[in-house]
């Protein structure tokens, strides 16, 4: 037990391979955020004006959804650590349901923007808004796929309190998706 304990503290939760991926993804998102901020400083008026056109309410709702979903995943990890596979699967299911709500709201946002005739080429602000939110959107889908896979395995009792690296791996990725959105929302929707 002590040996496994030192192993735990050696690496962050989950499979270390996912962490290499997480750091790389954060790097990409980070460059995107900074590109946005510095491009904005060249053209503050355009960015401020276009920003007003965004639906802040749906953005905020999505933030709440994602945070809560992340919290549910935390509960799922806690459940499997107590060897409660079914409970873990249920928390994961709740997180997945919220994630699909995020997808739905985001799609609604994209459609309404698209119906205004706005695209990547409209102006720099929309280029960033669409690039970053769509890139993040794809990550939510990817995260959902991972969570679904983990949930199915958990349901079949594939994890235990001894061996649940898979759950932690999926959870770590999902928290990353959440973390990125927590920066993205105030940056793109609110800050002016």
């Amino acid at each position: 037990m002590t040996q496994s304990h030192t192993k735990i503290s050696q690496y962050p939760p989950g499979d270390f391979a996912i962490w290499i991926f997480i750091y790389a993804e954060l790097l990409v998102f980070g460059i995107f955020f900074l590109s946005y901020a510095f491009a904005r400083s060249q053209n503050v008026e355009l960015f401020n004006e276009s920003q007003l056109n965004l639906n802040r309410i749906s953005g905020a709702i999505n933030t709440l959804i994602l945070i809560t979903s992340s919290y549910f995943v935390v509960r799922a990890v806690a459940a499997i650590r107590e060897n409660k596979s079914l409970l873990c699967a249920r928390w994961l299911l709740a997180a997945i349901v919220l994630a699909s709500a995020f997808i739905g709201i985001k799609l609604f946002e994209f459609i309404s923007i698209y119906s205004e005739g706005i695209s990547l080429s409209t102006n720099d602000f929309y280029m960033f808004y669409l690039s970053m939110t769509f890139f993040h959107f794809m990550h939510v889908i990817m995260g959902m796929v991972i969570l679904i896979a983990v949930m199915l395995k958990a349901k079949q009792g594939g994890y235990s309190n001894e061996d649940h690296t898979g759950v932690e791996t999926g959870a770590s990725y999902w928290h990353m998706v959440d973390l990125v959105w927590i920066i993205l929302f105030p940056l793109v929707y609110v800050m002016r």
């Binding site: 496994s4 499979d15 391979a17 290499i20 690296t165």
Partner: protein, 144 residues
């Protein structure tokens, strides 16, 4: 206790990540091709332009020149040569026609390709059309 850094997870990330980013690339390409008509002025691709591109390829012009910055770096950029030659097709045709068969002693020279008048007109039309593509303001100046 299982390994904390497993090959199977690394493999999943490779396959999943690659597929993910390739899909994304396809999505962006899709958007690009949808936007292209506004930028490449394809309505101006006449029969002459099509012939010109063929002549361009059949004589391997890209083996010395760049076109929109891509190709060999031995001879001048031709994406904007129409403008550099004073918006003149005749100047382009005249230049190509007048290349000496045996070259210029000690200097780089374009070969004499013995093109027909129709082909010459085609290549000039092709270069004219190329100069009208929206290239985000590239090259920085007329020298290419």
């Amino acid at each position: 206790m299982s390994e904390k850094f497993t090959k199977s997870m690394a493999r999943n990330i490779f396959y999943g990540g690659s597929a993910f980013f390739f899909l994304f690339f396809i999505a962006l390409t899709f958007d690009t091709t949808a936007k292209l008509p506004e930028r490449d002025h394809r309505e101006n691709i006449t029969e002459q332009v099509v012939l010109g591109k063929k002549v361009w390829e059949d004589n391997n012009c890209i083996g010395c020149h760049t076109l929109l910055g891509e190709g060999a770096y031995f001879a001048p950029e031709l994406g904007n040569v129409y403008k550099r030659f004073g918006n003149s097709k005749e100047a382009i045709i005249g230049f190509i026609k007048s290349r000496p068969v045996d070259g210029i002693p000690g200097r780089r020279s374009m070969p004499q390709f013995n093109l027909t008048d129709e082909e010459l007109d085609g290549i000039a039309e092709f270069l004219k059309w190329s100069s009208e593509i929206n290239t985000a303001n590239w090259p920085p100046n007329i020298q290419g």
